[in-house]
Amino acid sequence: MFLVWLMAVPLLGAIAALAAPDRAAKGIAAITSVLTLLGYAGLLFISRASINWAWIPEWGIRFHLVADGLSLFLLGLSSVLLVVAVFASHKDAGRTYYFWLLLLGFSTAGLFAAVDLFVFYVFWEVLLIPVFFLLTGWSGERGKKAAMKWLIMNLVGSFFMLVGVVALAVIHSQNGGGLTFEISQLSHMSMSSPVASWLFFAFLVAFAIKAPLWPLHGWMPETYRESEPPVTAIISGVLSKAGIYGILRVMIPIFMPQFREYQMWLLIVATIGLLYGAFMALRQTDMKMVTAYGSLSHMAMMALGIFSLTQAGILGTTFYMVAHGLLVGGLFLVLGLLERRTGTRAMADMAGLNRSAPRLAAYFLFFVLGTLGLPGLPGFAGEYMIIQGLFVSHVVFAVIAGFVLIVAAWYMLRVFQAVMQGPARTSGIKDLFSGQVAWLVPLAGLVILLGVWPAGITSHAVPSLYHAMNLALGKGGVR
């Protein structure tokens, strides 16, 4: 029932926000998002909530949503970031803004919970609409351009995925299994190797574009740069995880032999992305771009965890998705606060802001440290598990991943120090308001909790993860 809540509340809230006058919109959105989060909290107390309604019986499509260990914490991530994004948004952003934002919350919840491939695809597409309008509506001409790029690349990806989805269902029915889109059933079927390879890459392209993974990240720099901070936070924190989640949820159970076959290539490409993002981050002069490219590198880290095809690596990715979502979301929001105060994103135009805004600097540093993987914060736990997984599968990649952690420390501190430290050149800025601290504190608290107690997530994620991997075990399996 909480699952219905999790989707119905944002949907109703979105409609209410649209109907309400502009000045009431933020209040409605805030209430809605908090209610959603409360519903999510209810979800934590029941094991494996699910709804399973017939939708289009003729085609074997069922509206089947499950909150298992794999999706449960991503649902949490999207609920938390929705609340934070709403609170961090402009009060006068207007009702349509909040309408799209809440609609985005609705579609991500559906996406993460879907275990019917068709439903998954539908939400995958639905998601494009609010993001597109959020990108175009609240930024200038360059924002519109960025939105077009984003939409076109994602549509190309969706097209590949649609082909894959339909093909899987058709093959399943041709094998005599009847028409179904249920992932757990599709994973049992046998496919001829070339067909499976083609479908494997179709799905991979779709997910890699969304994440984004190198070299399909072309939409990323402009989109991250031009969008409003709360939107950036949700795109980088939640939507990017949808790509990785898709690989875990859809591809691991179905395409294990292909993962085995192409593992070396996948690892190499992901490693290139890992290094690439890190080095690009080191070169940037715009503080938002450093974070964007750093995030590209971290997405590659998650992909590496999956491609290691080990328990540790995949579990690490599952954890790291949530951790990174909270951290990078928080970081983008803090950068947004900073940008709103200084009116610039260029690091060269800022220095020594710590003096006038110590609290802002403290939260900035906190999220910087989290993203660079400081042990004790959750990024580290995820990276540790991923690196251990890589160690088991191919040592070289573990060493490179370790090296990238050093570069990460370098580029993240570079931003922090350029902005906050050094002799102050400009006039000071206002420190955080108490209203802003009010959403930063719980977010930071959650991050610390995950950092010292990763088992809170991993112990829950394990059963469903092993379920997914056991499905795969028959086809080569994971170590």
Binding site: K145, Y276, F279, Q417
Partner: protein
């Protein structure tokens, strides 16, 4: 578990309360509150150590799991604490010396606006360091390890408006991250092999293993990389000299007494692994000896009072690693202890000098301060004698123990380096002492305003000075105290303190005395300026640490920048591709748009034609029209 959590939590509580309520606190309260908490932690540590001592059997270990850190793949990794005689020594030094330095800081930082922040960081450091030594497995150790790195970063960059401090802080953090990654990889390797990272679990497994396999060499080496970075062993040593940008109490606490010895702790803790990795074990000793003599040579002509002490710290850390390399574990711990006393004393005394001269650190501006600052001078002298290895001061005993064992175990070359370095140490330390406190004042104006530090600063300095004098007496106690820790697993047969050959002692002491005399003649009799000897080749290179910064730039930083540039070119191509894709779609759409004419009748015609065509197709298919 009894009492460990409290020891750990108190400093964290301090950091949290000061951060949260610093606006409400009166000016002096943060310092007092922070010092109090660390002092209580110290008392609790003594109690905990007594409990360790009274435990029955040979184990002498208090351990317990707080919660599961991570579960799900292989064996669960716990958040485990662990106190044995070895960590107990560190516990006492961290909280004891830490408390003294906290108290000293009340005076030193009294007019700094960032005082609450300073004490919050300092308390956070104590917490992290305690976590490091109380860790019951390598993961928790790594968390503490990284958090001390963070504390060090925050405190080096404490005066964040100084560009040099900011740069130094970043350098320290990045180099320490390199070490963290080393430990991370090393412990991942061990976990995969042994399905656990807890000390007893690993050491039990090591006990049954045969030495010499590549696996042990690699895991030991990777963990040693971590120790190298934290303890500033060559070639990862550069950050420590730059770290002197932080406030002097920080240099005393973090960059001399405690944090930089974490590598010594780790290596001592892992002695069962070192038994299995003979090559790495030898390497540790060799690099330690090299670091010792290298840093001593750099300390020779430094102009900055803190730089001399920084390089001498490096040099002494080299000794400790030399001791580890020759299996003189107790001696290394002993040297860590005496070093904590005399080096903290030196740094704090130097801090008093800097404080008395309103921030001046240049030796060229000092001189003749003995009468102005008698207590500081006396403590500094005691500590100088200790570090120079003059009997019966504390440094003599610990250094002798390391060198003696190096000789006994047949490492004659390392022994020779150690003995020679001892002479160098005596020279540069007395140079420092003479230039600061004796001779004629080189800056009369500063000299006139110089004053002895307030009591709150002097008392800790004097206490540490006394400890630097008598610290050697703890050797026997330490030997007995650590015996159970080193008896538990094989690999520490020669851990106990041994005395070396008599002639070795004589040579070492004689060299130190000669160095003292030379320094006296040069800097007191002839009153040579501190700059002398730095214009020509060896002196110049020694002053600039043999150009290691340039070497790093050339072989690491610049190539990485080149790679970054190459990737930038690739990125432009990718972005151009996406822009091209978007433009292509757009122009395609523009080309197709005229089909939509707006004339309804044309649409109708199209529909009609289409309908007829479809109809015709199906009629042909069913054979209606042949």
């Amino acid at each position: 578990m009894q009492g460990l959590v409290e020891i750990l939590v108190l400093p964290l509580l301090g950091a949290a309360t000061i951060t949260a309520f610093k606006g409400l606190m009166p000016k002096k309260l943060p310092g007092i509150w922070a010092s109090l908490l660390v002092a209580v932690s110290f008392l609790l540590s003594i109690l905990a150590d007594r409990r360790v001592a009274t435990l029955s059997g040979s184990h002498h270990v208090i351990t317990g799991v707080l919660w599961n850190w991570v579960t799900g793949f292989g064996a669960a990794i716990h958040f485990r604490l662990y106190l044995d005689p070895l960590s107990a020594v560190w516990l006492l030094i961290i909280t004891g010396v830490g408390a003294l330095i906290h108290i000293y800081s009340i005076g030193y930082m009294h007019d700094d606006a960032g005082q609450p922040r300073f004490f919050a960081y300092l308390n956070f450091f104590i917490f992290s360091m305690l976590l490091l030594v109380l860790a019951g497995n390598l993961i928790v150790l790594l968390i503490g390890w990284a958090l001390v790195g963070l504390a060090s970063y925050l405190l080096i960059g404490f005066w964040y408006e100084r560009p040099t401090a900011v740069a130094a802080a970043k350098k320290a953090f990045v180099m320490n991250t390199l070490g963290d990654v080393g430990i991370l990889l090393g412990l991942a390797l061990l976990y995969i092999h042994y399905h656990g990272v807890g000390y007893p679990h690993l050491f039990q497994a090591f006990s049954q293993a045969k030495p010499g396999s590549a696996f042990f060499e690699w895991s030991a080496f990777l963990l040693y990389v971590g120790a190298m970075a934290k303890s500033a062993q060559f070639p990862l040593h550069m950050w420590l000299a730059d770290a002197m940008e932080g406030p002097t109490p920080v240099s005393a606490l973090i960059h001399a007494a405690t944090m930089v010895t974490a590598g010594v702790y780790l290596m001592t803790r892992l002695y069962p692994l070192l038994r299995l990795a003979p090559i790495t074990h030898e390497l540790i000793g060799a690099i330690g000896a090299f670091t010792a003599i290298f840093a001593a040579s750099v300390a020779f002509f430094q102009q900055d009072i803190k730089k001399v002490l920084a390089y001498s710290t490096l040099s002494q850390l080299g000794y400790m690693f030399l001791g580890i390399g020759v299996s003189a574990y107790t001696a290394s711990v002993f040297h860590f202890m005496t070093h904590a006393f005399f080096k903290a004393c030196l740094f704090l005394a130097a801090g008093s000098v800097i404080h008395g001269l309103s921030g001046e650190q240049d030796l060229g501006q000092m001189g003749g301060l003995a009468r102005k600052m008698p207590w500081t001078m006396a403590s500094f002298l005691a500590a100088t004698l200790a570090i120079s290895g003059i009997p019966p001061f504390s440094g003599y005993f610990s250094k002798e123990a390391i060198l003696g064992q190096a000789y006994n175990s047949g490492h004659y070359f390392l022994w020779g380096i150690g003995v020679f370095t001892a002479g160098m140490t005596a020279f540069y330390m007395f140079r420092l002492f003479f230039l600061t406190f004796l001779g004629k004042p080189r800056n009369q104006k500063l000299h006139d305003h110089a004053h002895e530090a307030p009591l709150v600063m002097t008392i800790p300095v004097v206490i540490l000075g006394v400890l630097a004098v008598v610290g050697g007496a703890f050797g026997g106690w330490l030997n007995g105290w650590l015996k159970p820790a080193f008896a538990l697993y094989p690999g520490a047969a020669h851990a106990a303190l041994e005395s070396g050959p008599l002639f070795g002692t004589i040579v070492t002491v004689a060299l130190a005395v000669v160095a003292f005399i030379v320094a006296f003649l040069l800097y007191v009799r002839r009153d040579t300026a501190p700059k002398a000897g730095t214009e020509q080749a060896p002196g110049h290179w020694m002053l600039h640490a043999w150009g290691m910064d340039l070497v790093w730039m050339a072989i690491v930083v610049n190539p990485l920048k080149l790679v970054g540039q190459a990737m930038g070119a690739v990125e432009r191509t990718i972005l151009a591709g996406v822009t091209g894709l978007a433009a292509g779609v757009q122009s395609w759409a523009t080309d197709l748009a005229p089909i939509q004419t707006g004339y309804v009748r044309r649409y109708a015609l199209s529909i009609m034609v289409g309908g007829v065509a479809l109809l015709a197709y199906y009629l042909i298919r069913i054979g209606f029209i042949s």
